[in-house]
């Protein structure tokens, strides 16, 4: 049996709302791969947040720039890369503290990276000064569901 390797590439304009294309494409891929519904919802939200960060912060809402989204499938995982022309996020990832938010001691926004890390199996942010930066997200199939190509 051959391991499966396939990829899909999207090029999105840097306009809020277009993250839905990446979300829905990833959902379709996830269903084909056999991910359960709850993991597909996790992936959709994580990808939405990564794309919104790329659109707003990486590409500064400049519609002349594109956000590149690559979905790469293997027999047991789906890796998504979201690439923009920016220099990458500032670290560390801000952990939302609802008590501080409710007392206006922490801004109400800024939960995107926290949600990404919480919803996928692997998340990292990579900066390459010459070509921009990307978020890399990975979700893995449960062992019994690994895809096989006969």
């Amino acid at each position: 049996m051959e391991p499966m390797h396939s990829s899909i590439e999207l090029s999105l304009p840097s306009r809020l709302g277009f993250e839905k294309i990446a979300m829905n494409t990833a959902a379709s891929v996830g269903r084909i791969m056999g991910f359960p519904d709850d993991r597909i919802e996790d992936l959709k939200t994580a990808i939405a947040e990564a794309c919104i960060n790329a659109i707003e912060h990486g590409n500064k809402l400049d519609e002349r720039l594109c956000v590149s989204v690559t979905l790469a499938m293997t027999s047991d995982s789906l890796e998504v890369r979201v690439l923009d022309t920016g220099t990458g996020p500032k670290f560390p990832v801000e952990v939302p503290d609802i008590d501080k938010k409710m007392h206006e001691e922490q801004r109400t926004r800024g939960m995107g990276m926290f949600l990404i890390q919480a919803l996928v199996d692997e998340a990292e942010w990579v900066s390459t000064p010459s070509s921009g930066s990307y978020a890399r997200l990975v979700i893995r199939l449960p062992k019994a569901q690994e895809l096989q190509v006969k």
Binding site: G17, K20, I52, I98, D99, M102, F114, L115
Partner: protein
């Protein structure tokens, strides 16, 4: 592609003890562009509104910017001594709201009846 936008309907219903409950029924997306719908609507409520019920059952898409607006509404309500209950989130967004801690300040109910029953009479 246009953002779907946020529609909101406001109505008043009676709670278990006959007290007035203001219901905000959101429809569509709740995102960074929803400030007028979320905060603008809330700020337009009369000062007599003490119990506020948020209906998320027809919300199709929520992102972290939209959740931030919900938190801003909760902050404003807290300052006024208003009580908020919510219902209608999908299991996924109940999980996300729990992750960011919103459940410390409002309970997330599965349906309108249980949310209404949770308000003190």
């Amino acid at each position: 592609m246009a953002d779907k936008g946020t529609q909101v309907k406001m109505e008043e219903i009676a709670g278990g003890a006959g007290q007035p409950i203001t219901v905000l029924r959101f429809v569509g997306d709740i995102t960074s562009t929803s400030q007028a719908a979320v905060l603008g609507t809330y700020q337009g409520l009369p000062d007599t509104a003490k119990q506020i019920l948020i209906d998320f059952s027809k919300v199709e898409y929520l992102n972290s910017s939209g959740i931030a607006l919900v938190i801003q509404m909760m902050i404003a309500a807290s300052k006024k001594g208003q009580t908020i209950q919510s219902f209608g989130l999908t299991p996924h967004f109940m999980k996300v709201f729990t992750m960011v801690g919103i459940t410390r300040y409002t309970k997330l109910h599965v349906d309108e009846a249980s949310a209404v029953a949770a308000f003190p009479g």
